[in-house]
Symmetry: C2
Subunit: 184 residues, 2 copies
């Protein structure tokens, strides 16, 4: 949406307010609830303002998700076990505190039928996985790197999305130890 010209600070503020509100509604009530009229009302702007910025609903959700992507990550210590567990704990924290579980569920459920979302999902997931992939990449490559990265991220995802709660500390540590012993 932003062109090459300098952006008016009021426009930036409006965009920030609206996108933050859109994510809140997405997390609370799902994809269908994120409509321009509802977001406008909740953010305290006119419908016309929101429609002017995002004529298409899918673009509004896409921009909101792109903004949401900046999740906290564990700060690396250099000890692989500590850093892998720390990264999984950060992922779990994102699920619990930022409702990343809801956002990932919406991306999983909607991307197959909303083409605009496929690129958002790809970028969002690649960004989220990057620290885990980089740390494992110091000791693994190829199919083994892919397997270990997606298994460890998949553990948190599967537990949060399909078991109703992300894994305990004990399970996270057991998973990292299985993988590290497996690497040998």
């Amino acid at each position: 949406m932003d062109g090459q010209e300098p952006v008016d600070p009021r426009v930036l503020r409006t965009r920030n307010d609206v996108l933050r509100t859109a994510i809140e509604i997405l997390v609370a009530d799902g994809w269908d609830a994120v409509t321009q009229p509802r977001v406008a009302r909740a953010a305290g702007y006119s419908k016309a303002t929101v429609y002017a910025h995002w004529p298409e609903r899918a673009d509004l959700v896409r921009d909101a998700l792109a903004r949401f992507g900046d999740m906290p990550h564990h700060e690396a210590t250099g000890d692989l076990r500590t850093d892998l567990i720390g990264e999984l704990v950060s992922f779990r924290q994102g699920m619990l505190e930022h409702r990343l579980d809801r956002v990932l569920a919406v991306l999983a459920e909607r991307a197959p039928s909303v083409p605009e979302l496929v690129d958002v999902r790809t970028a969002f997931v690649a960004d989220g996985e990057r620290p885990m992939r980089e740390r494992l990449g110091t000791v693994l490559s190829g199919a083994r790197l892919e397997a270990a990265t997606v298994m460890l991220c998949g553990l948190v995802l599967d537990a949060a999305l399909l078991h109703g709660a992300p894994p305990t500390d004990e399970v996270l540590a057991a998973a990292v130890d299985l993988v590290l012993h497996g690497i040998g």
Copy 2:
């Protein structure tokens, strides 16, 4: 829905037809598309018939999912590596051929806001995981069993739902080998 009295075969056939159609619509077009009028039209029954069996939409989807849960599993050979890879290949096949990926995405996305779906999700996931959990249970217990089961299932889930395609044979084998070497 079924009481204690013997069920009329015509009623059973109607229920089967309607539930099969409901899953087809769920997989193709998502939760919101599964309405009594749409399912009735697609299955060739009157709206009144479908409403008589399922006055609530959530109950219609719940019964359809319960019926869908009977997924093919790998037949055990007794060799743990072969059986774990076989089970993951069956899970992947469910994703690709039966669109289990779509069903799991809908369960993940909707269960938090549709209370009737939580028990369906729990039963569905427990049934799906059982063979993997039983096979790993011959060599693991406690947190390590939980970690290994959910990591391996989570690998297929994460790849299918968030990477857009389930894992290759090479990645599945690498995952099983990492876990088996980790068990030591």
